[in-house]
Amino acid sequence: MNREFLERKDFWSGVMLIVVGGGALFIARNYQFGTSLRMGPGYFPVMLSAALVLFGVYFVLQGLRAGAEKLEGSWSLRALIVVPLSLVVFGLLIDRAGFIPAMLGLIIISAMASKDFRLVEVLLFSVFLTAMCVVVFIWALGLPYELIAGIW
């Protein structure tokens, strides 16, 4: 069995659409469909999800064709994990620890996503940028966040 299709763009595009469309269809089965005259809450979502599944099937078939375009180009797993993670850390810190810790965490962690990470430079930069944001957003624009929870 030739597994080449596993490297094809269109194959995975199709899989993605089928998963999303199929999932939505599954959830929407509980919504009342209604009639064309009185469309229920399920009418539009079911139509759209079904369309997505059809698109997905089309792309899977395209992807199975020999010579379909492959997934190419370099990408960074490190960036894919670290960049979203830095946002999650910001989200967790801002309510619990305050604006300053959240900003420092976000900037330092997100900077680690780059292969070109330089610790000292990033530490200095994070302090500078955080200070700037405190001045601009908290003091000048008046966003109502605690700088350090419970203290400032």
């Binding site: 999303v20 469309m39 967790l92 940028l129």
Partner: protein
């Protein structure tokens, strides 16, 4: 003379101190991000949207519009000076602009780009002023079926004309529509796709999607690519173009403006198409096409006028019909909605200060850009030296603050992270993102119009083809599809994308 009075009224609004200030901030920020590669107007407008909550709707729109066309200017500056298109719209400008810079004629190239853009901006402003009111008058007569058909046409055109795989674009529109209806159904009160999460009962925030996909996803994507940054700052001396330069550029600027206006009102066509067409046209018209690619000033003048005219004319369908013709316009529409203004033809009569003030401000902003850009070139070139490894954490920081300031919701921050991952995945799979955003914005409206149209007609779908205006939109939709699927166009389109 209505037009005249209206424009005077508009200038009165735009020239207020506050609005001038926001216009200035907008074009300055716009130029800045236009200069910096790796962050485009879409991401920036999305990040800055929350800041505009606290200002008046007019000032907000003026600033956001300023970012948009300022970015075009900034993009062409770096295209000419360092052969680095800051925005996709200025890819074409690189070809001859950079050659001119190499020959020591960076000054005239920059000046001609600015003059061409300014001329195009002026014409674009006049066009909006001329055609806005009659279009809005027509649109006021629209009922639910007309709106549904219009949106259908807009979405199909946007998907089909966008660069990249057409079927993928349409699939993305559908996906966007589906994402748009997450939350409470207004008619039945049923929670749809909210997974029992309280924060999702109001639907996904528009800014969450835009920032997640266009800022976070873009960063993840950029970090995967090998970083290459050449900083070869050409010396800019002698800004003024010669009389000959001006004479050679006049024709291309006028033709480029025409092309740009034409492509501008079509949904989905990015400014790259307008500037590329203008370049091809000038090359064809030239007596000695060999000069192109070797520093022909026509190759800078035409495309620069075209991309600015395109940017300006994109406002026409957005302001008069409430139909976004591009990703940026979808954001503008979102900004209006957030300000509590229902987009559509009634904006012009109910909020004339918004419509005319915005138009006048665009002309003022274009003038500011000419004045602002030329003396600041040295600064922009130095900014290019900010390494990406520091630039992207800063973008992340502004994104996070922007999102959090909307609802003070950590959940939305996490959702943004999720959309960053999704955006990156879609990019990798070759799905264009702007059509998704259009669908997302229009999703709830389309469902509502479809529902109302069906109630009106007693459940008979023929209502869309028996009402003349609606029928016209449906025919146009079918025509667009047929023309685009035709093999010859398809082939040319693929060549375009490459």
């Amino acid at each position: 003379m209505d037009l005249f009075n209206n424009l005077i009224f508009g200038f009165g609004v735009a020239l207020s101190l506050q609005n001038l200030f926001y216009c200035f901030v907008g074009v300055l920020v716009g130029t800045l991000i236009g200069v910096l590669p790796g962050i485009g107007p879409l991401g920036t407008i999305a990040i800055l949207l929350p800041i505009t909550y606290s200002v008046s709707p007019v000032a907000a729109m003026i600033m956001l519009a300023g970012i948009y066309y300022g970015a075009q200017y900034g993009g062409s500056t770096t295209a000419i000076l360092v052969n680095l298109p800051g925005e996709t719209s200025s890819v074409v400008t690189c070809i001859d602009g950079y050659q001119m810079a190499q020959q020591g004629r960076a000054g005239p190239a920059l000046a001609i780009a600015a003059i061409g853009s300014f001329f195009a901006g002026t014409v674009g402003t006049l066009l909006i002023a001329l055609f806005g009111p009659p279009l809005a008058d027509v649109a006021l007569k629209f009922g639910a079926p007309e709106y549904f058909s219009l949106m259908l046409m807009g979405l199909v055109a946007a998907a089909v004309l966008a660069q990249g795989d057409m079927v993928k674009s349409i699939a993305m529109v559908v996906l966007g529509l589906l994402l748009g209806i997450i939350g409470t159904d207004v008619n039945s009160g049923v929670q749809r796709f909210s997974f029992g999460i309280f924060e999702l009962t109001d639907g996904i925030g528009f800014i969450v999607v835009a920032v997640g996909v266009f800022a976070v996803g873009e960063i993840v994507n950029n970090l995967g690519e090998r970083q290459e940054r050449r900083v070869l700052s050409a010396k800019v001396s002698n800004l003024f173009p010669t009389w000959q330069d001006l004479k050679a550029s006049a024709g291309p600027i006028v033709r480029g403006t025409g092309l740009g206006c034409f492509f501008g009102v079509l949904p989905g066509t990015g400014p790259a198409i307008a500037s590329f067409s203008s370049y091809m046209l000038e090359k064809k018209l030239a007596k000695d096409p060999d000069r192109f690619g070797k520093g022909a000033i026509e190759g800078v003048a035409g495309p620069e006028a075209a991309n600015n005219a395109d940017a300006q004319c994109k406002f026409i369908p957005m302001l008069t019909l409430g139909l976004p013709a591009s990703g940026v316009m979808a954001l503008m529409l979102g900004a209006l909605t957030i300000q509590g203004i229902q987009p559509g033809p009634q904006v012009m009569t109910q909020r004339p200060e918004l419509f005319w003030g915005l138009i006048a401000s665009m002309w003022i902003g274009n003038a500011m850009l000419v004045v602002l850009n030329l003396p600041l070139i040295g600064l922009w070139v130095r900014l290019l030296q900010v390494p990406y490894r520091l630039l992207f954490p800063a973008i992340m920081a502004f994104s996070a603050i922007g999102i959090f300031s909307v609802n003070n919701s950590a959940f939305e921050i996490h959702l943004t992270a999720l959309f960053g991952v999704l955006g990156f995945m879609w990019m990798r799979l070759g799905f264009p993102l702007a059509p998704m955003l259009l669908g997302f914005v229009l999703g709830p409206m389309m469902e509502e119009y479809l529902r109302r149209a069906m109630l009106m007609s007693g459940g008979d779908p023929s209502v869309f083809v028996t009402r003349p205006i609606s029928l016209a939109f449906i025919i146009a939709t079918v025509l667009i599809l047929v023309v685009m699927v035709a093999p010859s166009v398809r082939k040319r389109r693929e060549a375009f994308t490459d």
